[in-house]
């Protein structure tokens, strides 16, 4: 049987799926993203119960299942909590490899923002390193309106 298959022709059908979506960001993320775009400001939301400042802001607290009620402006600076240096390219990554992704705890936030690091020697990246947001010149109301984070002292 296996000999048969090693010689037999098998037909492959190529897919043509391309399904466009248009996602409403909702009121909370829309406010967050318009503030990134128009004011270059980063806003989180505080949970009235656990007092955590959520970044990105959410309408409800994932930990307490209550409405969040207070907008809190977050610093554009923070600390690298974890990082990876990406060595292989995919067409969906925002930069050519090698580059770094990081979990960043911004000052004033209680959750980590996931983003990319740039303008940095990849060998110098360490947990605890202070970084700051660099905003994109052409901002469109997207998480990539923060183009990347770079070391605070650079």
């Amino acid at each position: 049987m296996s000999d048969f298959w090693s010689e037999a022709e098998t037909i492959v059908i190529e897919g043509r799926i391309k399904v466009p979506y248009s996602w409403q960001a909702g009121e909370t993320a829309s406010h967050y993203l318009t503030q990134l775009r128009d004011e270059q400001k980063i806003w989180g939301k505080r949970c009235p119960k656990c007092k955590k400042v959520l970044l990105p802001p959410r309408k409800s607290c994932p930990f307490c299942f209550v409405d969040t009620d207070e907008w809190v402006e977050i610093s554009g600076e923070g600390v690298v909590e974890a990082f990876t240096i990406v060595r292989r390219d995919t067409p969906i990554q925002p930069m050519k490899a090698p580059f770094a992704y990081a979990l960043i705890r911004l000052d004033g936030a209680d959750t980590d923002l996931t983003h990319v690091l740039s303008e940095v020697n990849l060998n110098d990246i360490k947990e605890g390193m202070r970084v700051k947001a660099v905003f994109a010149e052409n901002r469109q109301g997207s998480p990539l309106d923060i183009a990347y984070f770079k070391p605070s002292d650079s």
Binding site: W5, T10, G15, I17, Y21, W23, A25, G26, A29, L54, L55, P56, P62, F63, E81, A82, F83, T84, I85, V86, R87, R88, T90, I92, Q93, P94, Y101, A102, L103, T111, D112, L113, T114, H115, V116, E127, S142, P143, L144
Partner: protein, 385 residues
């Protein structure tokens, strides 16, 4: 909980590209094997759960597409989107509802037929995360780094898990990637996303798996070698990566505690005889063994390095080779249940551990970086503590 048993198991050979079968034909193969294993025909099946993912299949309502080959027509067929352990959990609940005496559960993917980084990128929130271009590997690299840095787990300790599981897979006739590698080979394998190297990462496989569950009355009619479900639980954590401390797995700890309590297990390290855990990456086996209570927090690397999790160790982990040996997404957790059940029956062939297996554990994961976990404790007797 009423007693429920696994009465039949089947799986295909898992491989890089299955050319001889379409994915429904692949599922058909696993279903026939499970029925044959149980010694029953399709008329012995009361209801069907298919476990699939529309993105991986490239079709919507993918569950219905494999209904025909699971005995679906004329029966109640329902679907779980996620790992096969979660599909099996639903199948178990349907028996416990009293409405069905048997459930046939399938899970499958053909990873070779799509582009995995596009599929796993689509797991991320389209508003806040997806544009960053993360995929399963790069996200898990962040988790690996966070975990290793917090506890001082080394790349060499994790490489030992790659050596062990790829080596174990050599004894598994269904594995995709059995190979003899050394720690040096793993350390020198191609860097993908630090600290993950090629041999730290499970392969993308094509494969299908099937499990037949039965209530006590039917199980006793069907088989003289039932594998009883002694305890089972699942638990989820927050969705966004930044909401979790990725060096911990609290959802797994809770799922394991609940499953152990049901099974009457007080000290899992002593009472679990063999475990099949969801090692999509080497660091995950290390981290999940901590969450399962096999060792303390941050000690998973040392547990592996001690040899305790080797096939002839005190608590063998993944004697089948685990996901590092074969990783058809969605099916991977259900395969853990099948391999644990075969260990309980003493029918695991060259993979059979030396010790007598009273209790075996199977573990599945759904979501990115272990967002949710499903834990099963299986045994020869259904008695609970």
């Amino acid at each position: 909980m009423d007693r429920v048993a696994i009465v039949g198991v089947g799986q295909t050979k898992h491989e890089a590209r299955k050319k001889e079968s379409s994915f429904s034909e692949m599922v058909y193969g696993a279903v026939k094997m499970a029925l044959e294993d149980a010694g029953i025909g399709i008329d012995g099946i009361d209801n069907v759960i298919t476990t699939s993912n529309d993105f991986w299949d490239g079709r919507t309502i993918s569950s219905m597409a494999t209904g025909d080959v699971s005995g679906g027509p004329g029966r109640n067929v329902s679907c779980v989107e996620g790992d096969g352990t979660f599909g099996a959990f639903y199948g178990l609940c349907r028996i416990l509802s009293g409405s069905y005496g048997t459930t046939l559960v399938t899970a499958y993917t053909k990873g070779s037929e799509s582009v995995s980084h596009l599929i796993t990128n689509a797991a991320f929130d389209p508003i806040h995360m997806r544009s960053l271009g993360l995929d399963m590997i790069t996200a898990c690299a962040l988790q690996a780094r966070r975990y290793m840095t917090r506890y001082g787990v080394t790349e060499e300790e994790l490489a030992l898990i790659s050596v062990k599981n790829h080596g174990n897979a050599l004894a598994n006739p269904n594995a995709h990637l059995g190979m003899k590698v050394t720690v040096e080979d793993v350390m020198n394998s191609k860097k993908i996303a630090d600290p993950l190297k090629l041999y730290d990462i499970s392969p993308i496989s094509d494969g299908a798996c099937c499990v037949i569950l039965a209530n006590e009355e039917r199980a006793k009619e069907i088989t003289n070698r039932p594998v009883w479900v002694k305890g089972v639980s699942f638990c989820a954590d927050a969705y966004l990566l930044g909401d979790r401390d990725l060096s911990e797995c609290r959802a797994l700890e809770k799922a394991a505690r609940t499953a152990y309590k049901m099974a009457g297990i007080e000290d899992p390290k002593k009472e679990i005889d063999v475990a099949e855990v969801y090692d999509a990456f080497t660091y995950q086996e290390s981290l999940w063994t901590e969450g399962l209570g096999f060792c303390g927090q941050g000690e998973g690397g040392k547990l592996a390095a001690s040899g305790a999790t080797a096939k002839d160790g005190e608590l063998p982990v993944n004697p089948s080779g685990g996901l590092l040996g074969a990783h058809p997404a969605i099916a991977a957790g259900l395969i853990r249940i099948v391999e644990a059940a075969r260990q309980v029956r003493g029918e695991a062939g060259d993979m059979q551990v030396e010790k007598d297996v009273q209790s075996a554990l199977a573990h599945g994961v759904n979501g990115v970086c272990g967002q949710s976990h499903c834990v099963w404790v299986l045994g020869r007797d259904g008695k609970r503590g």
